[in-house]
């Protein structure tokens, strides 16, 4: 098939030229790639109010690298994650930030949820004042408005173009990228800072809700707790994290001689409309197929499929059914999963998991899904790379899945240039 991108003018082709990230096992793309190739997990013991001892993926990036103590105090963890990632991405892209017209920059950050952390903290504090609301913080609203993480990035960087978050459950990381590319194509901005962020480990509610749902992972060895496709998987490890991309039109990137990680050649988002929580493999497959059709690619042209699988019993089986339907006959497609290392970074998951795979364009290696000791027969996938990295030769296209509650599905395809 002929890739659609070859028929597009360069100002309608969108490329990734900078990456800033923080994950539970890394604070840069180079560190992240190294951890993924070495099988290094970032999941550790964790304790949170009311829930008690549990496990989580915790980030240790330096909040003070780009943010004053005062701004950190006034803001949110998600804002801080966004600020770190956006600054790192700009630096990585080699942009002369001072000379850029800040009205031409757009910020589009995916979030799974926002505001739970601050609300829980305030209610907890208020209990100490016998629920007298005159003790409720005046910072509550600016911290909990849904655009907060993107708005904090804008404040930090002096960006005066559009900024907002995209609420898309756990498909949000991909949704941020998709939004960024759309806005660039529409001419709404000339530079997009797009991706996803998560502060999820700081809200007890997420842990407690997964626990009540029977979907919170436990394991005596935290590094083994996130184990998608394994017959002994028992749920999700909640993680925080962030990944922000600098996105540009190919014409602009070429003009400034930018390093290019890859091109967003196709994407799709659709909806199950069947259940609040349970995924629908038919819609997931249609989402991947639509992304392929829009990219003008056949399934066998995809070298790596980065799965969304979170380690829940039914979710993993459903995604595998969808992947088998689309890629079951594709002999040269390899499949992996990154949550096995870092847990589920929620709003950041899609953007982070894609980033972890992008170096494959250079090194031709597909990092494995780890902790796969006994494959669940229902998760059998041709090309699943397990436990050891695999040299797969030249990589031209990567498809990244990200799905979320309320039946939101997304697939993004990145091509090498």
């Amino acid at each position: 098939m002929n890739a659609i991108r070859e028929q597009l003018p360069d100002d309608q082709r969108i490329v990734l030229t900078g990456i800033g990230l923080t994950a539970p096992n890394a604070n840069s793309l180079a560190e992240f790639r190294e951890a993924l190739l070495e099988g290094r997990s970032g999941v550790t013991d964790y304790e949170i109010r009311y829930v008690g001892k549990t496990l989580a993926g915790i980030c240790d990036f330096d909040e003070r690298k780009y943010q004053s103590r005062k701004d950190r105090r006034r803001g949110t963890r998600a804002g801080s994650v966004g600020i770190y990632c956006a600054n790192e991405a700009i630096r990585d892209a080699g942009l002369d930030w001072e000379s850029i017209d800040k009205s031409t920059v757009g910020i589009y950050l995916g979030i799974t949820e926002h505001g739970n952390v601050e609300t829980e903290n305030e209610v907890y504090e208020l209990k100490g004042y016998d629920y007298d609301t005159s003790f409720w913080s005046h910072h509550h609203n600016p911290r909990t408005v849904a655009n907060n993480p993107a708005g904090e990035v804008a404040l930090n960087l002096g960006v005066i173009g559009p900024h907002y978050t995209i609420g898309a459950a756990c498909a949000a990381g991909n949704a941020g990228l998709i939004q960024g590319s759309q806005m660039l194509r529409l001419g709404e901005c000339d530079l997009a800072l797009a991706g996803g962020v998560s502060e999820a480990i700081h809200t007890f509610g997420i842990f407690a809700s997964f626990k009540s749902q029977g979907a919170l992972a436990t394991h005596e060895d935290p590094t083994k707790a996130s184990r998608p496709f394994d017959v002994d998987r028992n749920g999700i490890v909640v993680a925080e994290g962030g990944c922000v991309y600098v996105m540009e039109r190919l014409s602009d990137a070429r003009r400034r001689g930018a390093k290019i990680y890859g091109e967003l050649v196709g994407y799709a988002m659709n909806t199950d409309a069947t259940d609040f929580v349970l995924p629908n493999p038919e819609r997931q497959a249609e989402c991947m197929e639509q992304a392929l059709a829009r990219a003008g690619l056949a399934a066998e042209e995809i070298d790596i499929v980065s799965t969304h699988a979170t380690g829940t019993t039914s979710g993993d089986i459903q995604e595998c059914a969808a992947v088998r339907r689309v890629f079951g006959d594709s002999k040269k497609t390899w499949i992996n999963n990154t949550k096995s290392y870092i847990g589920h970074a929620m709003g950041a998951a899609g953007a982070l998991e894609l980033a972890g795979n992008l170096p494959a364009f250079q090194d031709g290696i597909c990092h494995p899904t780890i902790n796969l000791d006994r494959l669940d027969p229902e998760c059998q996938l041709r090309g699943l790379v397990a436990n050891e990295p695999r040299e797969i030769g030249p990589v031209r296209y990567i498809l990244n899945n990200s799905f979320g509650m309320l039946g939101i599905n997304s697939a993004v395809i990145i091509g090498a240039l």
């Binding site: 103590r69 005062k70 105090r73 003790f135 913080s137 005046h138 910072h139």
Partner: protein
């Protein structure tokens, strides 16, 4: 609290609210805003901290009294004379 203790209490609060500022050179008669990067949300933080720490209620029409260290101490002195400084 004595005026000196009230001053120290305000300094403690300012250290939390404006952690990047050097408070050692603070001039008591000069408005906070001319020496520190404080905005209206920060002044609300001072009001909130006094409420949380000492149950002092400052009505909105009196917020202007918190303009400088000297005016703040003068304003709080009669209201905090029966308050014990913690620690």
């Amino acid at each position: 609290m004595t005026p000196d203790e009230i001053r120290q209490e305000i300094l403690d609060i300012l250290e939390d609210i404006a952690p990047d500022e050097d408070l050692s050179q603070l001039e008591d008669e000069v408005p906070f805003r001319e020496q520190l990067e404080l905005d209206s949300m920060d002044f609300l933080d001072i009001v909130m901290e006094l409420r949380k720490r000492h149950r002092i209620q400052i009505p909105e029409e009196d917020y202007g009294e918190l303009a400088s260290m000297a005016s703040t101490v003068r304003y709080l002195e009669p209201r905090m004379k029966d308050v014990q400084r913690a620690g």
